[in-house]
Amino acid sequence: MAKLVYDETGRLLFTKEMRKENYTILIPMMAKIHFEIMKNVFVHYGYNAVLLDTEGPEIAQVGLKYVHNDTCYPALLVIGQLIHALQSGKYDVNKTALLITQTGGGCRASNYIHLLRKALVKAGLENVPVISLNMSGLEKNSGFKLTLPMIRRIAAGLVYGDMLMALHNQVMPYEINKGESQGCVDKWVKKLTEILAAGHGFTKKEMSENLDSIAHDFSKIKQNKVPKVKVGIVGEIYVKYSALGNNDLEQFLHSQDCEVNLPGIMGFAMFKVDNRLEDIKLYGGSKAKYLVVKRLFDYLEGLESAIIESQKKYGFRPVGTYAHTKSLVKGMVGYGSKMGEGWLLTGEMLELIESGFENIVCTQPFGCLPNHINGKGMIRPIKMLDERANIVAIDYDPGAPKVNQENRIKLMLAIAKERLAKNEPNSKAV
């Protein structure tokens, strides 16, 4: 066990010595494809990173034990998953650190890292250092540095992750040989890891090439395009992507013979950057800061267009652009609504409806504050605007039983199937 070093606020640091001793760094799961690539980037840079793929009800129970029970469900799960892993005996707790993302913002989610530290103390694991992964220069650690090359690779990971997720979702429901698109995803996760490790794949040019190859691969998968119910998923970012958080919603929808559309993480990243621009526009602020942030935003927008171009080239439905999504909410929610998923959540619902996914599951942790506003709060005006909208809001929390959630989703699906049968008389749907 390395020496424990604290900063002046009493925070336990992740030191160079810990890195040298090859501490295991545990990462909680969210979006599988994206996080797998991200983890591999860490591994490439010499960190002994492990992405947790644990599941099951014990994780929530551990969370309930160490986190205030009224805190949001994602916090319970993320912290539960980490502590559950530490208590599993699989890792030497004297040689393990935890990594967790830290965002700022007025949502209570910005407190996860602090709640995690509190929980560690409660569990008697206060000697396990916690590394904050953030872009704002918060909480520095001598043993962990997010360098520019790493950031670029992680950004590339997001791009590839979004691409793979989108194409998998578009192809999988229609593939003739079951498992083929999943095979394609697995192949590319491995391949991209190698490419990134070899120092390639993160310039825009290389990205475009790789995205083309991915799209090309998926386009070769044989499909039988029968009409299916199309369902979009929006919501609080963790329960939206994490199977642990949403009781494997994607899988459930697939089992009900639906085509699923999950808007990508890039949109969320751009949203968070764009918020800084909007803040300055709304309330005033430094011009210089505006220009710096704008450059970052433009860079992300460039990456987004690379995804779209490749998708178009191979005949896939392109993901909606951030700019277009943003234009859709105008008049419905203000751009100042930035906490949590903010107006983006409303925008994604509108964008989904526009692109034929009028059936939507709006996922949120029970009592999620921003979603009172932008999720449940906006369903009425969306329906007024477009009566095709068939939205079901589902609350997730440790006590909400899966059967009730599925029952409500089934109601949404029953209506969707009825409409599909009306519009597509040849479909098999009831």
Partner: protein, 971 residues
């Protein structure tokens, strides 16, 4: 050809057989007592005999409990709301709206003008299960509830959002002597309100309304109440119970092989996978050792008959039971009774006292004390000498068994009380306020639902092999989890043990929120009726990993403690005023309800009149109806703030016309700012009135999220008030940021406060007809503010010059500072006067909108009625100039004040901090722990009061009295 539809609901199964012309050939409606699979196969066998020979039969299944079963046995599943719609479309094609209440669900279907379906979310308030629970509480069969309600004279406000909340509303009403007729009617009204506010969500219910489902079929009064509130005359069609099953039949398109299905159903044991815990006991032997150990915690007993010495009487008028004891002067237990409280404790206590006098004529009762929910009324009815707060009563009793006890946990019928004891005084109290799932009534409800008595049921779990892991959650959620576990093959024994474990987990992790037994100390006494249950006791020891003491009289501890307390209070020459046999014989008790009318609260008072003409008034929030004097508000900063805010009046005839400000959420603090700003701009600023119940109900139809906090919900009422009063311009801006008071790392508003104007804009239809200013503004940047808001204001209100705005902004910032200065000055004055008068000071810490009387339910006045001074967190938050070190992100302006106030209070012995928390406030999950940590770091007591739409002031009183008792003793 016939079509068969099965509806497997949460409590019943329904089945219909339709012929080809949709005539009903056969129908049945039965309770399944959770024996779902058995019931289905039994039904199918019966149904089979009803099918004419040679006919093909199409079958489908529906209902919340039918989902997994249907799939497993190869029957098509039709979602139940969808089925209802199919049936309504066929049989009642002119229907506009269907309202269907079921066992655990409530639904509204809008069939015309844009089909829409609403189901209750994760909450079962306002459903059949809720009505069942309430009937149990009133101790009347559900069939009689209807007849009772018909005879009502008035209705009370009862929260129906959750059975738990409603119970806490109803229990005090009953204890205070409210008529069952009125309570029954109030229960139905609560269901109506819940259905409308929870499900309609802004959409009007009009046209042809159809009522379906069990409760609406069996309870005509409930239908009448819906009619009344909706202003319509709905119909309850023939076969209203069978709509789901009829719909399922209509949607059926698959023939099935009956034999095969029956076989599959009988074999169906679910997945066989359910999470489980280790058994409570390995074997009989372990159970025996356990029983022996606990049999040692005994109390000395004697006989009442023929007792000659001084006797002491203790009474615990609890929520579901009444307990009474008689002791001698050494604490020997002479006599005890444990009685069920069938809604009114008065006759029960009378009987208890009569029994004493009959068993021991001429007994010398030296002193008596009463505790519990019914303390006040019993004290008044029978001249009981002392009232004692429950926590103190329990501590007194526990010390008799373990003088150095460190922690006491008492789980009663519907409440959990636990507290730490430090230096002989009560230190840290935990009460269940939002949830009764860790209580005895929880087990009882389940036992009864499964067809057992509570005692029988809990014994079944002792030797269960695989106690189901149900987690810690509320009763309603638990219902579904239990059903799921049953489907997955758990036995009744496993479920019994699992529920006992859940009770313990709820108590530990939801109420006390421990993670480690070390936090509670080693010396633990458990008591309360629920711990008489060995399975619960074992689960508790198992979960905590320590052996605890359960006194043999575990269920009587409150009463026993009261008797001991009476003894400690009685000096040699004390004479008891307890009613004697003669007074009991002449005892009369009349109950009348009136409206107070003493102030705008207009409390509904229950006036109890006893034989000697003595009156006891309950239901009051202040002392006015009792003392006939206005309450003294000179030590109450909340009232002072309201006075200040009332001073912001409209400038009549201003040239830019009337503009409305809804006074809710952050407006409670920003009114001085915005009122000044807009008045300077020559608007006539009309402020909505402080909230009351009526104002809330007027706006409830447009609330889109039923889980948002109550202060946010109230905003809809304020907006509606402005609209109803013809205001054509409304000002309610969005604000991500609040003022930076340099107490934290940032200065955010919470997301709800920040963006609620967006919700109003999106969900209040009429708002489209007025100018509704809800742009984003940044008052935290005074320099940029005028220019930025100028650009927005001119979009709404035409020509306003930047110069005007700059001047108005300057005045607004000054007025805001002036307002805060006045609040702080007055607060300091209160503190000074309190110290001169030797009064304790309570800092009631919350958010600015907690001064709203409908939000705080008069807690401020309740506090000052205990003869203490009351100030708010902002009075002391600026005195601790340094930023408080917190272990969480300190980034919300209102929170930073609470942290600073907690730090400040810690340094003054005559100050205590009480934190007000709105139920459903997500960010307070973070602040409560932190404020507690700050106070406890300095060895101070943390007290939290959770408030919601409706708040049981009884629990609040317990907290406050315990806090004051502890500080009194510390002095």
């Amino acid at each position: 050809m016939v079509r068969i539809g099965l509806d497997i609901g949460s409590t019943t199964v329904k089945c219909v057989v339709l012929d080809k012309d949709n005539n009903i050939l056969f129908n049945t409606y039965e309770r399944h007592y959770s024996q779902i699979t058995g019931k289905i196969s039994e039904l199918l066998k019966t149904v089979r005999t009803k099918i004419p020979k040679g006919e093909t039969a199409l079958v489908s299944m529906s209902g919340s409990a039918g989902m997994g079963v249907a799939e497993a046995c190869g029957i098509d599943f039709i979602q139940e709301v969808y089925a209802t719609r199919a049936a309504a479309n066929t049989f009642l094609p002119d229907t506009d709206v269907v309202i269907e209440l079921g066992g655990e669900d409530a639904k509204i279907l809008f069939l015309s003008g844009g089909m829409e379906v609403r189901m209750n979310g994760s909450c079962a308030g306002g459903t059949g299960a809720f009505i069942d629970q309430m009937a149990t509480l009133l101790n009347v069969p559900i069939e009689e509830l209807d007849g009772l309600a018909e005879k009502h004279e008035k209705t009370y406000t009862i929260a129906s959002r959750c059975g738990v909340f409603a119970k806490t509303d109803i229990q005090p009403l009953l204890n205070q002597g409210a008529r069952k007729e009125d309570v029954a009617a109030s229960i139905f009204m609560a269901v109506v309100n819940q259905t409308i506010s929870g499900l309609a969500q802004g959409r009007e219910i009009k046209g042809n309304v159809v009522y379906l489902g069990g409760p609406l079929t069996f309870i005509p009064q409930l239908r009448k109440d819906f009619d009344k509130v909706l202003g319509t005359k709905g119909i309850c069609p023939e076969n209203s119970l069978y709509y789901v099953s009829i719909g399922a039949a209509l949607c059926a398109e698959k023939t099935v092989d009956f034999d095969a299905v029956c076989q599959r159903i009988e074999k169906y044991r679910g997945t066989g996978n359910f999470a489980f815990n280790k058994p409570l006991f390995k074997d009989e032997q372990e159970l025996e050792i356990f029983r022996k150990r606990h049999s040692l915690a005994k109390v000395e007993k004697g006989a009442l008959e023929g007792y000659k010495g001084n006797a002491f009487v203790g009474i615990d008028a609890g929520s579901t039971t009444v307990k009474g004891v008689v002791t001698d002067d050494k604490g020997t237990l002479l006599y005890s009774e444990y009685m069920s409280n069938s809604g009114n404790p008065v006759p029960i206590v009378r009987q208890f006292l009569e029994n004493i006098y009959k068993k021991c004529p001429g007994i010398k009762i030296k002193g008596s004390a009463v505790t519990g929910y019914g303390e006040e009324i019993i004290k008044n009815a029978f001249g009981v000498d002392f009232g004692v707060v429950e926590t103190v009563a329990h501590m007194t009793a526990a010390k008799k068994f373990m003088p150095d006890v460190e922690f006491i946990i008492d789980i009663g019928g519907q409440d959990i009380k636990c507290f730490k004891i430090r230096n002989g005084v009560i230190d840290n109290i935990f009460l269940n306020e939002a949830c009764s799932s860790g209580c005895g009534s929880f087990l009882q409800t389940f036992a009864n639902a499964l067809g057992y008595s509570a005692e029988e049921f809990s014994k079944m779990g002792l030797l269960a092999k695989h106690p189901v892991d149900l987690g810690s959650r509320c009763t309603v959620f638990m219902n579904s989890s239990v059903k799921q576990a049953q489907k997955d093959g758990a036995t009744i024994e496993d479920i019994s043990a699992g529920l006992c474990l859940s009770v313990v987990k709820n108590a530990l992790y939801k109420v006390i929120r421990v993670s480690n037994p070390r936090e509670l100390g080693k010396k633990i006494v458990v008591q309360g009726g629920t711990f008489l249950n060995d399975a619960v006791l074992r689960a508790f020891e198992q979960e905590m990993g320590v052996d605890v003491i359960r006194p043999e009289i575990s269920g009587l501890m409150g009463a026993y403690g009261a008797a001991l307390y009476a003894k400690s209070k009685c000096t040699e020459d004390y004479t008891s005023g307890l009613s004697g046999m003669e007074e009991l014989n002449n005892f009369r008790h009349e109950i009348k309800t009136v409206n107070c009318g003493g102030c705008s609260n207009n409390c509904r008072l229950t006036v109890n009149t006893f034989n000697d003409g003595k009156k006891f008034i309950a239901g009051n929030r202040c002392e006015k109806p009792v003392t006939k004097k206005s309450p003294d508000n000179s030590f109450n900063i909340y009232q002072y703030k309201l006075e200040l805010l009332k001073g912001y009046e409209p400038k009549v005839g201003a040239k830019r016309g009337k503009i409305g400000i809804p006074i809710g959420l952050n407006m409670y603090e920003l009114l001085p700012f915005w009122h000044t700003f807009l008045t300077k701009l020559d608007f006539e600023v009309v402020v909505s009135p402080f909230s009351n119940r009526k104002l809330y109900l007027h706006g409830q139809q447009t609330i889109p999220s039923d889980t948002v906090c109550f202060p946010a919900k109230l905003m809809h009422g304020h907006i509606q008030w402005l609209l109803d009063n013809g205001i054509k311009q409304i000002f309610y801006p969005c604000m991500s940021y609040n003022f930076d008071e340099h107490l934290g790392d940032n200065h955010y508003n919470c997301p709800v406060v920040a963006y609620y104007p967006e919700v109003i804009h999106a969900n209040v239809k009429e708002i489209q007809d007025v100018k509704f200013f809800h742009e984003f503004v940044g008052i935290h940047r005074p320099k940029d503010f005028p220019k930025k808001i100028h650009a927005e204001l001119i979009k709404y209100f035409g020509d306003i010059s930047l110069k005007e705005i700059k001047d108005a902004a300057k005045a607004a910032y000054e007025e805001r500072d002036e307002y805060l200065r006045r609040v702080r000055e007055y607060g300091e004055d209160i503190i000074k006067r309190a110290r001169e008068n030797g009064k304790s000071i309570i800092v009631l810490a919350g958010r600015p909108y907690h001064v709203d009387p409908e939000i705080n339910h008069g807690i401020d006045k309740l506090i000052t009625s205990f003869d203490v001074a009351l100030v708010s967190e902002d009075v002391v938050s600026d005195r601790e100039v340094k930023k408080v070190k917190t272990s969480v992100l300190n980034q919300w302006t209102y929170h930073s004040r609470m942290y600073a106030a907690a730090e400040y209070v810690s340094h003054y012995d005559d100050m205590e901090l009480v934190q007000l928390v709105s139920f459903g406030c997500g960010v307070d999950a973070i602040t409560t722990d932190e404020v507690r940590a700050i106070l406890e770091r300095h060895g101070r007591i943390y007290t939290q009061i959770k408030i919601d739409e409706i708040t049981n002031l009884g629990a609040v009183k317990i907290r406050l009295r315990s806090l004051l008792a502890a500080t009194e003793k510390n002095k």
